[in-house]
């Protein structure tokens, strides 16, 4: 079917059933002083590609939270031979912009602008709310094993080791703190790890090589917590602004193409989902002002802060693992462990999602209010 560019865009936008596409004025009307609003734009341009192709761009969290809201998602394709739609994974833990170019396409570009609002997170331990607890089904789901997050064998043994010194009446927060401390003390950030790492926790523990980046280090936290019966999850996302807390290594604004970062949460009855980020403690130790000792006041401060707090200069994408990209010609062979980078395929196969210069893709962020 041949359609004009104008009608192509219309077809795209009409395909979305989102509380989205709000004009900017409406966005500001919803904001309050403690919320900050950003526009993040992901542009994909599959250069040197002929004919049919597909791309999958990660989009913000499916459900809004008390620290993150999606206000608008506006896609735009640069070719008439294109079909785009928002796809949510079957478990609704992730969503993406799924774009398909037909065999007659001679340009393969798509852009999506996302407007989101965030506010900083803080775990307040003085006022528990008894109503905040997971159902049995939710508890089972968030303590489940995944391909890279097993909860038995060496992982369970390590979790028990972390908790060995705690009293029998230790709370979820006490247990999570013990695991957090073990992860911070025993892992390290490996700058040679490609991308954000993969989070193969079993392999890391078996080989006693606990070096990696956020997808490795925070996955260790999540797997150990789940092994100990504490609901926990990775939260995949991207840094969207500089840190206002004085940590150059913990923020990125403007061009954020390579600023992907995943964090972690655990669930404590009475408090709900609690933010942690042991990987960023290790990042500060490695990178801040050329490297810092673990006893440096800046490290001590961020270590304390990142158990129970997130600075929200970051956009959350999703919680999902083992994702089958819809429409992929690779079928089950093309499952990805998590979705944090744009993905694409042509008749030549899968594009290298960690090579934005040759893929190509570009992600930018700007503060708008």
């Amino acid at each position: 079917m041949t359609i004009t560019r104008r009608s192509a865009i219309k077809a795209i936008t009409s395909a979305f059933a989102l509380p989205a596409l709000n004009p900017i004025t409406s966005v500001f009307a919803q904001s309050s002083p403690e919320w900050t609003t950003y526009e993040i734009v992901t542009e994909v341009n599959l250069e040197n590609t002929n004919g049919a192709a597909e791309a999958w761009i990660p989009l913000p969290l499916v459900l809004n939270t008390d620290y993150f809201k999606t206000l608008s998602i506006r896609p735009e394709a640069g070719d008439t031979k294109v079909e785009s739609k928002i796809y949510e994974t079957p478990d609704k833990q992730a969503r993406m912009l799924w774009t398909k170019w037909d065999k007659s396409a001679n340009a393969h570009s798509v852009k999506v602008a996302m407007i989101v609002s965030t506010r900083n997170r803080h775990l307040e331990l003085s006022s528990p709310n008894p109503a905040l607890k997971l159902s049995k089904e939710e508890q089972k789901f968030w303590t489940r094993a995944t391909a890279y997050l097993p909860t038995d064998g060496i992982v369970k043994a390590k979790a028990q080791e972390c908790l060995a010194s705690l009293p029998a009446n230790a709370t979820d927060v006490d247990k999570a703190k013990a695991i957090y401390n073990w992860v911070v003390d025993n892992t390290h950030r490996d700058p040679k790890t490609r991308g954000c790492g993969q989070g193969d926790v079993k392999l890391m523990l078996e080989t006693n090589n606990l070096g990696g980046k956020c997808a490795d280090i925070n996955a260790v936290f999540v797997a150990l917590a789940r092994s100990a019966g504490i609901a926990a999850r990775d939260v995949y996302g991207i840094r969207i602004a500089d840190s206002a807390r004085g940590y150059k290594s913990l923020g990125k604004s403007g061009e954020i193409t390579k600023a992907q970062h995943c964090r972690a949460e655990f669930y404590a009855s009475g408090y709900g989902w609690c933010p942690v980020d042991p990987a960023d403690v290790r990042k500060v130790i490695l990178e801040e002002t050329g490297g810092l000792a673990v006893t440096d006041p800046k490290v001590v401060a961020i270590r304390d802060y990142l158990f129970g707090n997130w600075e929200m200069n970051w956009m959350a994408y999703n919680y999902d693992h083992d994702i089958a990209l819809p429409g992929s010609k690779l079928g089950r062979n093309g499952v990805i462990p998590f979705l944090m980078y744009p993905q694409a395929e042509s008749k030549e196969g899968r594009f290298d999602s960690l090579d934005p210069d040759n893929f190509k893709y570009k992600i930018t962020s700007r503060l708008i209010g």
């Binding site: 040679k192 993969q198 080989t207 006693n208 462990p337």
Partner: protein, 183 residues
């Protein structure tokens, strides 16, 4: 919803290991040829991939030669260091019947040619095959890179080298290849 997730997670085994250089897992790696049962293979899996020129290459066409199949990527430091050892082996034994295939994991051609150019390596030094979807890597049951398989003239995998080959002149490396070339 939960059932759907269970189905998905049960299938989520692959893809990620190609991000792991074997330098990570010294506990498994030892610098020697090992029985192929080490990686759980009992027979030679298929290998049909395009080379850098876009020409399909089928390993079955190389029966009668001793074949090396090496899995690598340009971002993997041990792989980069190993590359010159592989080109050396191709130079040294090519005329005697050795064929070396360097199977690149998931990278795109510009990145591969950039690596070759940056290291002064000719595109024809050894034949590079592109495993864009990592499917061959998975079917060969490598758990990291670099991993090198040695295949005899009958097309059967003789052994596997887990980690980087750091001295192609060593008896462990060359001796084994020469033995297979004589068979």
């Amino acid at each position: 919803m939960i059932d759907l997730i269970k189905k998905q997670t049960a299938r989520g085994i692959f893809l990620s290991l190609f991000f792991i250089c074997l330098s990570l897992w010294g506990g498994y790696a030892s610098a020697q040829w090992q029985a192929v049962s080490k990686v759980g293979l009992s027979q030679t899996p298929p290998l049909l991939l395009n080379n850098l020129a876009g020409t399909p290459v089928n390993i079955n066409a190389f029966k009668g030669k001793v074949v090396i199949v090496n899995f690598w990527a340009s971002w993997c430091e041990p792989c980069r260091e190993e590359f010159t050892e592989l080109t050396y082996l191709q130079d040294k034994y090519g005329a005697k019947g050795l064929k070396v295939f360097a199977v690149n994991l998931a990278e795109m051609k510009p990145r591969i040619t950039q690596f070759l150019k940056g290291n002064g390596i000719s595109e024809n030094a050894i034949e590079i095959l592109q495993d864009r979807n990592s499917i061959i890597y998975k079917t060969w049951k490598a758990r990291g890179i670099p991993t090198t398989f040695l295949i005899n003239k009958q097309g059967k995998i003789d052994s596997v080298w887990i980690g980087a080959i750091d001295n192609a002149d060593s008896e462990e490396v060359s001796g084994k290849i020469e033995t297979l070339l004589r068979q």
